[in-house]
């Protein structure tokens, strides 16, 4: 390491630039190789999550997606993506919505929620939710995803441990959306996960937005998805 001024200063800068350039080139190469597998893995993951929240036998069509508000950027905080699910006869049997809330303990949380019994706003059922993306504290906030990869039959009944229970098979019209500590939570309130009230509130917020969207625009969505089904 020669330390002679002034050419050593120039050399110092040049070396940093060269190292940075080599690293950038290496990263560009790795990025190119991994781009497609990452995109495919994400697609599969989204589809699997959506499929989980609608009733069995209801097949989600990723291509039939609607964006609300219309024409919005898919990554934006207020954007909701709505996916139709069709049964074997091609009838609309479920709707899955991906919504987002940025008020988690570590910011962004993405949740998909599934709806069935689409006859009317009174019968509309929240089938199940699934948290697809979050950065909550491991072991605390991350418990909002506890057991979500398992079948609901294994969930037990303790809402303070398994957050998904709050949103399993519920009539949308009766949910209060009030998030309370589990001891104080009523039947129609949302019981927060122990020691993770902020994370619980963020997830409930995202689901509430999605549920009210489906409930308020139920007829519009049904009409839009019925026509997509016919045109295919």
């Amino acid at each position: 390491m020669s330390d002679k001024a002034p050419e050593s200063s120039v050399k110092a800068v040049v070396v940093v630039v060269i190292i940075a350039a080599i690293c950038a080139a290496g990263l560009a190469f790795v990025k190119q190789i991994t781009e497609e597998p990452i995109a495919e893995a994400r697609r599969q993951e989204t589809l699997a999550a959506l499929q989980r929240v609608v009733p069995a036998g209801c097949e989600i069509k990723l291509e039939g997606k609607l964006v609300r508000p219309e024409g919005a950027d898919e990554g934006a905080a207020e954007t909701k993506l709505i996916f139709p699910g069709y049964d074997a006869d091609g009838q609309l049997c479920g709707i899955a919505v991906r919504s987002r809330n940025d008020k988690g303990y570590s910011g962004k949380i993405l949740v998909v929620s599934g709806y069935s019994d689409l006859e009317s706003r009174e019968t509309l059922k929240l089938n199940r939710i699934y948290v697809t993306e979050h950065a909550e504290t491991p072991g605390l906030g991350s418990l909002i995803t506890n057991l979500q990869d398992e079948e609901p039959a294994t969930w037990g009944t303790d809402r303070s441990k398994v957050y998904g229970l709050n949103f399993l098979d519920r009539l949308v019209a009766t949910l209060s959306w009030k998030v309370a500590k589990s001891a104080a939570a009523g039947e129609n309130d949302v019981a927060a996960v122990t020691a993770a009230t902020i994370s619980s509130r963020a997830v409930a917020g995202a689901v509430q937005v999605a549920a009210s969207l489906v409930s308020e625009d139920l007829d519009g969505l049904k009409a839009a998805f019925a026509s997509t089904a016919r045109s295919e």
């Binding site: 390491m1 330390d3 050593s8 200063s9 050399k11 110092a12 800068v13 070396v15 940093v16 190292i19 940075a20 690293c23 290496g26 990263l27 790795v30 990025k31 190789i33 991994t34 781009e35 497609e36 597998p37 990452i38 893995a41 993951e45 570590s106 950065a135 504290t137 491991p138 072991g139 605390l140 122990t194 020691a195």
Partner: protein, 200 residues
Amino acid sequence: MSNISELTKGLWKENPVLRLLLGMCPALAVTTAVEYAVGMGLSATFVLLSSNVVVASLRNIIPAKTRLPCFIVIIATFVTIVDLVLNGFAHDIHKSLGIFIPLIVVNCVILGRAEAFASKRPVFDSFLDGLGMGLGFTLALVALASVREILGNGTWLGMSLTGGEFTPVLLFVLPPGAFISLGFLLAGMNVIEKRRQANG
């Protein structure tokens, strides 16, 4: 023989977390469960190993004045490579480790070893140093996480140990529990080290 000691010193005598007190942030943050400790430890070991080797092989080229930016660029590159490769080819692992990987860039164990060791020593010694320090970091994290997961959740690596006989002390999973557990671990290390010195 000296090569062996480059490898083993990281495990106990110069354990990065428990003796050098480096990398406290990940050690406190991710040790709520043993599973996370292992994941974080192994990812950091890979980055530490790679950056040590590259820094050691470039040690005669990297100018003294701008060595820190060089180290950071090299470390950040390896971290990003780990992130992309795991995401593309081991998506499930990436899903559970995803939030820790970017943290490795600012893990001062890695920058510290680049600065204090790899920038002055031959490539092979640096390789051993990186491996030893990485494993020492992993061991320390697993030790801390074991205490916290067993006391705070009643499980070890997700397996129930207590069969519901014992009510877990939630405090140990919360941030104060990290500091308390770490304090006792450090005290224990000091006691053992003092005894060893007294006997030796």
